[in-house]
């Protein structure tokens, strides 16, 4: 069942990577950078500037929130909100539909060439 879409535009690649990283677990800033690099096999590298630009925007939209540290030595963690999970789910569904349609189209093209 598709989640209700509340996105007017597709997510930017950086925002998608950050939301996908937070879908696994709550992470601090450097943890997000490491997870993004790992889930893209090192092809996507986000710097601190881009990371916090996107985190600020995602927090303003209510898709991500921060968990204040309980002690001074703890780092601030970020987590997905319920709305953030819904938005990520919609975006994944959109990309999934796009991938299936494109694969079907490519198979159709190959079949025509074979004829």
């Amino acid at each position: 069942m598709e989640a209700k879409s509340n996105l007017s535009q597709p997510l930017s690649p950086a925002a998608l990577e950050i939301l996908a990283a937070l879908a696994t677990e709550d992470l601090h800033g450097y943890g997000i950078i490491q997870t993004v690099s790992a889930q893209s096999n090192g092809k996507v590298r986000i710097g601190p500037g881009s990371l916090y630009d996107n985190l600020k925007r995602l927090m303003e939209r209510g898709w991500v929130r921060d968990l204040k540290p309980t002690s001074e030595n703890e780092k601030r963690l970020y987590c997905l909100t319920a709305e953030g999970k819904s938005v990520l789910s919609c975006e994944i569904d959109r990309l999934d539909n796009l991938i299936r349609r494109t694969k079907r189209s490519l198979r159709g093209m190959e079949a025509k060439r074979a004829e």
Partner: protein, 138 residues
Amino acid sequence: MTGSSKLYKWVLLLYPEPFRMEFGDEMLHMFAECRAAQGSLHLLADVLLSAARQQMDYLLAPAPKNAPLYAEIPPSPDLARILAMAMFCVAMLLSALARGNSEVQKSWPTPCGLSRVAANPTIKQNTQFGSGAWARRE
């Protein structure tokens, strides 16, 4: 602290203050952790671009600064506040009435020929400007 770390710290000053207050410390700590994997130049370029983007966002829609002295107005009026306002209004009214009845001792000439004169029944006073009003000599 290395030269690149110092430069990075200075570049962080380019961010708008609200952003810097919220994320500056984290970004500073992250520089040392990311430098090995991404390189100092890449990090500096990333932060410079990010600072420019944040400044543009801030100019287009400035975020309210944290105001620790701001107190929320309670939903229901406070009796003490109402009494204080009432007393203030009464004091202002009494002050205005007292100034209206008082006599101005001095008058002085003005470039326009108008003079500020003592209460004199022969001179019309413009009470729009309160006591001691500018009046035209007849």
